[in-house]
Subunit: 153 residues, 2 copies
Amino acid sequence: MGSLADYIEEYIKRLFQEATRDVIEIQRSQLAKMFGCVPSQINYVLSTRFTVENGYIVESRRGGGGYIRVIKINRRALPDVSAMIADGLGDALTEAEADRMLDRLQDLGLITEGERLSAKAVLSRELTGIPRELSPLVRARLLRGILTLILRQ
Amino acid sequence: MGSLADYIEEYIKRLFQEATRDVIEIQRSQLAKMFGCVPSQINYVLSTRFTVENGYIVESRRGGGGYIRVIKINRRALPDVSAMIADGLGDALTEAEADRMLDRLQDLGLITEGERLSAKAVLSRELTGIPRELSPLVRARLLRGILTLILRQ
DNA sequence: GAGGTGAAGGTCAAAGAAGGTCAAAATTTC
DNA sequence: GAAATTTTGACCTTCTTTGACCTTCACCTC
């Protein structure tokens, strides 16, 4: 603990404590000036500390009146099981593997039959036209995205 | 939120709230004076915020007694639009395009803020580690999949 | 009714104001 | 001392603001 990035992180987190909602807004250049660093340092902090994995979403707008908005997302609902599945799902999947995974989730009662079929439909639709060698990669991403959406509730 | 354009947008939207019909009329030069800006600023706001995509139509007439009329498009017609959007979403998307699309869908009331944020979270998470040149492609597929799931209900 | 006049609104491009990206350099950690 | 993390800076993209110049329209005069 002690790097500039750490201090900036702390500062932003303090802003959340003072805020009434789980949203804060900053101005990159102003914050940079405040910490006496280059603006891109702020991006560094945001991209290493305020990631989705850490429970944050960052939005921004350029131009006059631009801003950076950091949103804290509430993930209390994400059961460990689903997180495990989503994490352990890997970076590439064959169609058969995807099917097996969906079947297993349905067996476990984590998704309904309708959800399983929707997932399959989306997978098949969004994979058409994707080069063969990329399919497993895109399939894995898609499936993980689908599961995240279904299991989040 | 903070640019002049944002305030003018807000003002116009407030006019709609106060109006009994989904039509309001303004005078460009008078509005410009009210906000202390050049008249063309009003055109800028209209052409960036009150587009057909965002659910508005703008009509105007020049000359003496001229006016600008902004019409809010009826929402009942929108369910098909959502399918259209999902279909017409194309094969490649930049992050900004994806964001804009999600914003628009939220504005139209087709997705909730929570859904929009989930979608963003999924997109951001599933795109990490994807080679740069593939991102737009994978992003388009992911977003279409996500929207299909969200909108089918 | 032709033509002028002033009162709208329209267009477009340049200047200004943010924020983004990427890779090299510096520093810290192991 | 190698690997990981942090810091910096050069260069890029996007959005906003402004101003000069253009077009259209109602109305008036002859």
